[in-house]
Amino acid sequence: MTLDTTVQIELYTSMLRVRLLEEKVVELYPVQEMKCPVHLCIGQEAIGSGVAAHLKSDDYLFSNHRGHGHYLVKGGDMRALVAEFYGRTTGCSKGKGGSMHVIDTSVGMLGTSAIVGGGIPMGVGAALASSIRGDGKISAVFFGDGAFDEGVFYESYNFAALKNLPVIFVCENNFYATNSTQKARHAGSRIADSAAGFDSKGICVDGNDVEAVYNAAAEAAERARSGKGPTLIEALTYRWKGHVGPGTDFQAGCRPEAELNAWMEKCPVKSYRTILIETGVIDAARDEEIRDTISKEIDDAFEFAISSPLPTEADLMTDLFCE
């Protein structure tokens, strides 16, 4: 299916926005003013962008420790995100969560769990709520191949399929959980196929091809909205940076450098840019324009964050219970 150019530009912009934000984090992290671990999704941007294109603002999204991208593509406020990296009161979590815990309820982004697999059942629960209410909303939940190891994935998928809930499971298979390969953890190797065990639908897709992801998500969203239950999207991709932090990890022996290089060749942003330019959807000038707009937004967000107030000791005991 050929996409509308508006959609194409949106997808490109969405990916680029995540990429440039993350690159800014890479640039500024060494200053040590973002005093929390950061898990970057550089190299994996196509997945969130392709899926989120099918989510309405009041649909739900749940994510994990590697959640900056998901937050942004769902429409989360960038200023509040960056302020959270900086531990400020203006952060989306008032500085209490840090980079691993970002939220924007105004756009249905209901949080990220840094416990591997922890967010999955919540996505199903939000879908259950929609199903009971009959409000037509759907949920998407993002998790890694590591989360596929966890029993909670199995329990959650079974429940979603059993009850035909409107939820999209998006497994970003980057072949590693920290430094442990998928082979070292999974007896089988085809994550998407496991949907068959639940008499449900699995789709394995090139996670670096944003249109492929878009198309898979279109089908999944359609299934969700029409009462056909969950879909398991397995999107194959690769993380460029180390598991945590702004640096690469091959030097430390975590992964083969050649493997990284091969995947960098398949950069989702760059390759889509090439396609869009080659097919005349955008030209270099338009690309510059898009980048410029994003860069300004990012600069503004960082400025906002850095100039925002830090919490004070008095904030320590607040926010535990809702009165």
Binding site: Y60, F62, G91, C92, S93, K94, G95, K96, G97, H101, I103, D104, T105, L110, G111, S113, I115, G118, I120, P121, M122, G123, V124, G125, A126, A127, L128, A129, S130, S131, I132, R133, S139, G151, V152, Y154, E155, S156, N158, F159, L162, T318, D319, L320, F321, C322
Partner: protein, 346 residues
């Protein structure tokens, strides 16, 4: 007030009704069922899920008939997948619904501790108050019949040790209904703990929907010589003990904590101002149990009021044994409270 009264057995309540025919007797079990029914009737955002909630027996009777009445979508049996299902309930709560998750036995909640302790308890704080978790989990604890180690724990301490959970243990039918309703309308995760030994207990329960405020203890029996702080089923053991102690000329004040977290420290301190002596009766394990926190806070914040060592009446530090002889030795009751009081009473 009729609802503050603890009736140790049915006959006591019958006598009370003779005196005051306006009293409406309901068992603890039926109080839970009534609260659940009324919430289902009155609030579309409320629903129940749990293993066996649609069972003909209905989780010891507390959910009996609800699925027939309200449909399987609002009173939903679930797979045996405690961690996942807890996360599902939590996810629904995050969208603003008010799910009630039911566990036939608290033992199974250890499987879902990740969702409870790492997620439900932390979600609000971790996101700086941006979202609430109006989830209530009913946890049934207490003595079985040779049920042994994995089917009769009382794990309140596991929950009270994690900041972010409200933990309640109603001791009377009146409170069971009122506190269940309060828990559902509390925007925080509440672990609602019921001792199955209480299910047959009868007490006055108004027909209408009402709330009992969380976080407030209540004096069940006034006294001047010793304070017995009790939880759940130990409250009626404590009232029995208080009655028995009269013969020894000892006046015991019985406090029903009702809510373990947040703790009503004030009511304990006020009582100690009179008595200066403290016995804590809880049906959890003694070492590392909830009774430890009560003792600790008093020894820290009200030490000067104490005239004698604190005493704890709680379960010994072993798993529950099966054989009835060992079970009898394992569990504690009014006698043990009486002995504890006597050890420190003047």
């Amino acid at each position: 007030m009729p609802w503050t009264k603890v009736y140790s057995d049915r006959s006591e309540f019958d006598i009370a009704v003779e005196k005051d025919p306006s009293l409406r007797g309901l068992t603890y079990r039926d109080a839970i069922l009534e609260a659940s029914t009324q919430l289902l009737e009155s609030d579309k955002e409320f629903f129940i899920m749990g293993e066996g909630v649609d069972d003909p027996g209905g989780v010891f009777g507390t959910t009996k008939g609800l699925t027939e009445k309200f449909g399987a979508e609002r009173v939903m049996d679930t797979p045996l997948a405690e961690n996942g299902i807890t996360g599902v309930a939590m996810g629904a709560a995050l969208t603003g619904m008010r799910p009630l998750l039911v566990h036939m036995r608290v033992d199974f909640m250890t499987i879902s501790l990740d969702q409870i302790a790492n997620h439900a308890a932390k979600w609000r704080y971790m996101f700086g108050g941006a979202i609430n978790v109006p989830l209530t989990i009913r946890a049934i604890v207490g003595r079985g019949w040779g049920s042994a180690a994995q089917h009769s724990q009382s794990l309140q301490a596991m929950f009270t040790s994690v900041p972010g959970l409200k933990v309640v243990m109603p001791a009377t039918p009146y409170d069971a209904k009122g506190m269940l309703i309060s828990s559902i309308y509390d925007d925080n995760p509440v672990i609602f703990i019921e001792n199955r030994g209480l299910y047959e207990q009868v007490g006055h329960v108004p027909e209408e929907i009402y709330k009992v405020e969380l976080g407030k203890g209540i004096v069940r029996q006034e006294g001047t010589d010793v304070t017995v702080v009790a939880t759940s089923q130990m409250v009626s053991e404590a009232t029995k003990a208080a009655r028995a102690l009269v013969a020894d000329g000892i006046s015991a004040e019985v406090i029903d904590m009702r809510t373990l977290v947040p703790m009503d420290k004030e009511i304990v301190i006020e009582s100690l101002k009179k008595t200066g002596r403290l016995v804590i009766a809880d049906n959890g394990t003694k070492e590392g149990g909830y009774s430890a926190e009560v003792a600790a806070f008093v020894s820290e914040e009200a030490f000067d009021l104490l005239k004698a060592p604190i005493q704890r009446v709680a379960l010994p530090g072993v798993p529950t044994p099966a054989s009835h002889v060992l079970e009898a030795a394992y569990y504690k009751g009014a006698d043990d409270i009486v002995s504890a009081v006597k050890r420190i009473a003047g």
